[in-house]
Symmetry: C2
Subunit: 477 residues, 2 copies
C-alpha cells in the first residue's frame, strides 16, 4: 500500500482514492468482508485530509461497494461484485433525469402503461374502439392499392403530392382554398405542434391556450421552453394578450370545434372576435380542427375559411375519423411556413410513412373516407345516447353534463370536488381508466373526460357503475 494520489488536472484526489479502492476490490486484493484501515490511518498514508478520505468512502458506500458496521468500521460489502458491475454501466437514471425533454405526466404514463392490457375498461380514451375501425375495409383497400416505386422512397419534404392534392379537395368542402404548397403532411396533429414549437417560436415565447386544454396533457411547447398562458373569451381579450406578450413572440392555440376535453364549440361571434384580435396584434392562431369530421350536425366553418391574412395555421388529421394507426395529419399554412415546417420535419424523421400516405390518399380520393365518417357519426351518436341514458339513470344528484354535439367526449362534472389522484388510483385498482379533469386544468377537481368512443357497450355499463360507486363513496367522505 505505497500508492498515493497526486495532483492531476482532471481527476480530484477523492476520485483517485475511490477508483484506487474499487480497483483493489475488482482485482480481488480486497475480498468481501475485508475490513478497511481506519479513516485517520488512510488519510495519513494517502497524504490527504481526513474529509477527502471520508468523501471517497461515502461515494463507495453509496455505490454499494463498501458498508459500515456499527462500531466496528468500514468493510468491503457482501455484494461488492454486483455493485462493481452496476458501477461500470452508464448512469442511465442520471441521464434521464437531467435530459432536455420532460417526462409524460405520471397519470398519463399510468394510463399509457395500462391501456395495452385488455382487462382494463377505458372510459377516458380519446380513440375509436377497435369495433369502430374499418379493419375489413382497410384490408380490402390494400388489395386495390397500386404502389408507384417512387412512393416507396423518401417523400418530398411537404409529403406526398397525391395526398396533398386529395387534401386540397377535402379542404375546399370546408371553405378552405389551399394549394399543395400550403400543405405539410405530418404524423398526426401532435407532431404538427412539435414542429410549430421548434420551427416557428423562440425560447420564452408565449403560447396562449384555452383554460381547459389538451395542451395541459401534452408538452410540445413546454418542452421547447415556451411559456403557457390560458385565455378566456372576454371583451378585454386584446388588452390581456398585449399585456401578457410584452412584445415577445407569441401564438394562440385553440380547438374551436368540439374542444378536447369539453366538447364545446365556439360561436360565430367568438370565432371572429379571437381572429380579429389576433390579426390586429399579428399573433398567429393554431386552429386544431381534428374533431370536425365527427360533428353530429354540420357546424360553423373553420376560422381558417375566413382567414384573409395567412394568420391561421390549420391542423387536420385522420387519427380521429379513420385510424390513429395511420399517423397522418396536415398543417395548412402560408407556403413559406409550410416549407419551414417541412424542413424541420425532414430533420426530425425524414417524412411520414409513404404507405400511410398512399393509403390516406386512396381513402380520400375514392370516397371511402367520406362514407366511413358518415357511418362513424351514426355509431358515435348511438354510443353518446347510450351513455347519456346511463348517466340519467344513475348519476343524477351526483354529477351534471351536457349533451355532446359530436366527437368522443362528455365533460362530466361531479357536484363535489372528488376527482383527485387518489380517485384516479381507486378506479385504476378496479381496472377502470379515467381521464381526470386535472390533466386539462391543474386546479380542476370536479370533472372527468368521459369518452363514449372506446369501451364496448358492456364495458361502458360496468365501468360507469363502478364509477358511480366510487363517486358516491368519495362524496360521502
Amino acid at each position: 500500500m505505497n500508492w498515493k494520489p497526486s495532483a492531476h488536472p482532471h481527476h480530484t484526489l477523492q476520485a483517485q482514492i475511490s477508483s484506487w479502492i474499487a480497483g483493489r476490490i475488482e482485482h480481488g486484493d480486497w475480498t468481501s468482508g475485508t475490513r478497511l484501515p481506519p479513516q485517520r490511518e488512510l488519510a495519513s498514508r494517502f497524504g490527504v485530509n481526513r474529509s477527502t478520505v471520508q468523501a471517497a468512502l461515502d461515494e463507495l458506500k453509496a455505490d454499494g461497494l463498501l458498508e459500515s458496521r456499527q462500531g466496528s468500521g468500514v468493510f468491503v460489502s457482501g455484494s461488492a461484485w454486483n455493485a462493481l458491475l452496476t458501477r461500470s454501466q452508464p448512469n442511465w437514471q442520471r441521464h434521464i433525469r437531467a435530459s432536455v425533454h420532460k417526462p409524460n405526466r405520471h397519470t398519463i404514463r399510468l394510463i399509457n402503461g395500462s391501456e395495452p392490457d385488455p382487462s382494463f375498461i377505458r372510459l377516458g380514451t380519446g380513440e375509436l374502439s377497435p369495433d369502430l375501425l374499418p379493419a375489413k375495409e382497410f384490408e380490402d383497400s390494400l388489395r386495390d392499392l397500386r404502389l408507384d416505386s417512387r412512393a416507396l422512397g423518401y417523400s418530398e419534404p411537404l409529403g406526398s403530392l397525391r395526398l396533398r392534392l386529395a387534401l386540397c379537395r377535402h379542404l375546399e368542402s370546408l371553405g378552405i382554398f389551399a394549394k399543395p404548397e400550403n400543405i405539410c403532411i405530418v404524423s398526426g396533429a401532435l407532431q404538427a405542434l412539435q414542429l410549430i414549437a421548434v420551427g416557428l417560436l423562440e425560447e420564452g415565447s408565449t403560447v396562449f391556450h384555452e383554460s381547459l386544454s389538451y395542451l395541459n396533457s401534452v408538452h410540445p411547447f413546454q418542452s421547447a421552453g415556451m411559456r403557457m398562458l390560458s385565455f378566456r373569451q372576454e371583451p378585454q381579450l386584446k388588452e390581456k394578450l398585449v399585456r401578457a406578450t410584452r412584445g415577445r413572440q407569441s401564438l394562440l392555440y385553440a380547438v374551436p370545434t368540439l374542444n378536447n376535453p369539453t366538447g364545446h364549440s365556439w360561436s360565430a361571434l367568438e370565432r371572429s372576435h379571437v381572429y380579429n384580435v389576433c390579426s390586429e396584434l399579428r399573433i398567429p392562431i393554431v386552429e386544431d380542427d381534428v374533431y370536425r369530421d365527427l360533428l353530429f350536425a354540420p357546424g360553423l366553418p373553420p376560422i381558417k375559411a375566413a382567414d384573409s391574412s395567412g394568420q391561421v395555421l390549420y391542423l387536420g388529421s385522420l387519427s380521429k375519423s379513420l385510424s390513429p394507426g395511420l399517423r397522418i395529419g396536415w398543417v395548412v399554412a402560408p407556403s413559406p411556413v409550410a416549407a419551414r415546417l417541412a424542413d424541420v420535419k425532414m430533420q426530425t424523421d425524414y417524412g411520414s410513412s409513404a404507405f400511410s400516405q398512399e393509403i390516406a390518399a386512396h381513402w380520400l380520393e375514392s370516397g371511402l373516407h367520406q362514407r366511413n365518417t358518415e357511418r362513424l357519426r351514426g355509431e358515435l351518436g348511438l354510443r353518446a345516447a347510450f351513455v347519456q341514458e346511463t348517466l340519467h339513470a344513475s348519476f343524477r344528484g351526483l354529477a351534471e353534463w351536457n349533451s355532446p354535439e359530436g366527437g368522443f367526449y362528455i365533460w362530466l362534472r361531479f357536484l363535489r370536488p372528488i376527482v383527485d389522484k387518489s380517485f384516479f388510483r381507486l378506479l385504476l385498482n378496479r381496472k377502470i381508466l379515467i381521464n381526470p379533469g386535472y390533466l386539462y386544468d391543474p386546479d380542476d377537481q370536479h370533472h372527468i373526460r368521459l369518452s363514449y368512443a372506446y369501451a364496448s357497450y358492456e364495458e361502458m355499463r360496468t365501468g360507469l357503475e363502478a364509477l358511480r360507486q366510487e363517486a358516491e363513496r368519495a362524496g360521502n367522505c
Copy 2:
C-alpha cells in the same frame, strides 16, 4: 390633428405614433401621395423628441407605408394599401429566424429541393433507386396482410409487439440477444437520434463523433444544444475523452460498419478499444448499424453483441435495405432507456405508423426481407463494379478511391482541393446532384460521397462524365 401620445406601460411613444399614422392611412384620411408635415413640426405637435418621430417614420418606411422623396419630404407611398395588408400578417420570417430549430444546411436544402425533379441526376443520394425497391413484392405482400383492428389504433409506447418479436429473432442472427422490452420502434434512425438527444442528454452535453460523420450533415444533437466534438481512433483516446467531457454528460456516436460517408468499417481491435474506453468512462455508445444488411461479405459482429454492461444503444433500420418509405427503425437499449425513449416518442408523434409496422413485421417473419437483401447485395455489387470501371477509365490522375465493401458509397477523393460550394453549384446548374465532402467535414475540399445506389446506369455514365469535365476544368484553374 390634436391627438398626442401618452405614457403607457405597454406601448412606447414611438409605437403609438407609428400606429396612429398607420390608422390615418388605413381609414383613408391620408391617401397615397399625401405629404407629411416636417419632422420638426410633428415632434412639436406630438410633444415628443424629434428622434422619436424619426424612428416611427423609419419603421413605417421599412414597412412600405411611407416613402422619402429626395429634397421634398416624406409621403404616403403609392403601395401603402398593399403594405397595410402585409403589415397585418404575422411576421413569419421573424418567427422562422428566431425559432429554436436550426434550418437544414443550404446545400442540403438545395439537394432536397431538387431531388423531386426527375430531370436531375442524383450521384450522391443515400437511397435505393426506385428500380431496386421491391414495389411489386410490396403490392403482393399487402394482399397477404391480415389486419387485427387493434393494430389500427395507437400503438403501445414501445411499438408493435409483433414487430418487436420479429426483431428479436433478426437481432439474434447478429449475436444480439434482446427481449421485446429492450426494443423501441422508431420512424427511422434519425428519429432515434432526436429521441436520444432530448431524452437522454442535458443541454451542454458533449457528443463525440467520427471526424467524417453523418452528424455533420444533420443536426439532431446540435438543435438540442449539445456540443459536438470529433474523435479519432488513437491510443490516447481515453485521455482525450476525459479532457473533453470535463465531468459533463457525454455520448459517443459511431457507424462502425460501412461508415456514412466513407464506407469504412472498424477493425476488431478498434471496436474493442472504443468499447473498453467508453465502458471505463461510463460514456454510452450509440452504434448506428443501418448499413449492415448491405455488406457484400459477412463483416465483424456489432459492438452491441459484446456489450455486457448495457453501454451500447444499437440502431437499426429498414430504410437502407427495404424501403425508406416505411419509416421503420429501432433502438436496442436497456429496458429503462427503451421505456424513456418510448415515452418521449409518445409525446412527439404517438408512435410510428401501424401499417408500416405490420408490413415490416410481415416482411421479417416471412423471410421476404432476407431474400430481398440478398438480391440487393447482388445488384449493389454490380453497380459498385460498374462505377469503379468508369472511374478507372476516366478518373485516373484526377481522383482516387477505395473498393467498397458494401452499402451505397464510394468516398471519392480528388487530388486537388476543388470541391467547394461553387463546384457544387456548377454541377447543380448541369442538373447533377453531388454530396460534397464539406457536408461531413466542414474543412474538406477534396471529397464527394459518390453513391452507386440511386441513379440508373445510363445516368451514372452521363453524370460521371459531367463530373469529370467539371473536375478537370476546376483542377486547371
